[in-house]
Symmetry: C2
Amino acid sequence: MDSQAVSAEQAPSTAERILDAAEDLFAEKGYSATSLGEVADRVGIRSPSLYNHFKNKEALYEAVLERLLADFSAPLSELEGGQVTNERIIFWLETIVRQHHANPNLARLLQHAALSGGPHTNALIDRLFRPMFEPRAEIEGQSISLFENTGLQPWAVMAFNNLVMSYVTMAPMYRDLLGQDPFSEEALEKQLALIKTLLKAVFEYKGS
Amino acid sequence: MDSQAVSAEQAPSTAERILDAAEDLFAEKGYSATSLGEVADRVGIRSPSLYNHFKNKEALYEAVLERLLADFSAPLSELEGGQVTNERIIFWLETIVRQHHANPNLARLLQHAALSGGPHTNALIDRLFRPMFEPRAEIEGQSISLFENTGLQPWAVMAFNNLVMSYVTMAPMYRDLLGQDPFSEEALEKQLALIKTLLKAVFEYKGS
């Protein structure tokens, strides 16, 4: 069955189709509520075929996390590759807002894991976010040093990460209050405008 | 069995104990993953006794939501009772940060419902947050009108709500990165300092 699925040149491999289905299900239901049988059903293969690719649920979950990490850590590596200015921080945050909007699965999966657990998730969090939590002597911009001087830098980093991720995990619930689909392009532009306004307000704030 | 549990004068009634256990379980696992059998087990009663108090899981969930709503809507009613100034907004947000820190169940339960569903939750969200989303001609403070002029007011309200709630739903995952227990008193003070700094930055921001 597996080999038949990989006939057309552009078609994803069976392993990729398993990863796609597993990512959606883990994001929807969390680690413990997802079964390998459901993943196989969604792919349209039998469970034994799935074991040819991933030895168990934990290995599949880890592979899903690794693939998401590769995608979602790229903008931070890009930011870290040059001097960290306020403009580049704004650009970086805009990039990850768009990325979470295009694929809400990472935020949902992490949120499930934070609420109900999931193996390897803390290690992922560490690899994904650690660079932001390291003190950076070379950071420019008065607001960043404002947070650093008060010991609030890690809390600010967490807050902005949460702000970006909780948009995709919570927004469905605000649909009626916002008066529009939070996943529309128009809604995305408003979220971006808000985040930029918050960042600029922080960058210009002199403290009190 | 029920009547024996309500012997001491200060002891909670069986119905209250059922609500306490159900609130914890719904917050831990979400609506669909929680069974009435587990709730009964945690209270230490048999399932048939539970049905004397709540006719089914949906009714129990709704009662849990109603009790949380009564607690968590009080600070907003208080705010709405007087003129909405920047100082009173800061005080209100500080109050709800402390409230979610003291009882993370509402945020966790809402987050589960946003990810995986739960009956009556959208109605709760509406009753809890609607007043904040209504346009308020009488609001003072330049930053609020900044958001209103750009149509971002609902997005700002959502963002600050999410910021407060995602602290308790996501923070466990940041424990190592923060270098301390996010539920300690010291951590709470840092979260409060951060939120106040963000609000003041927004209040003083003149736009660009």
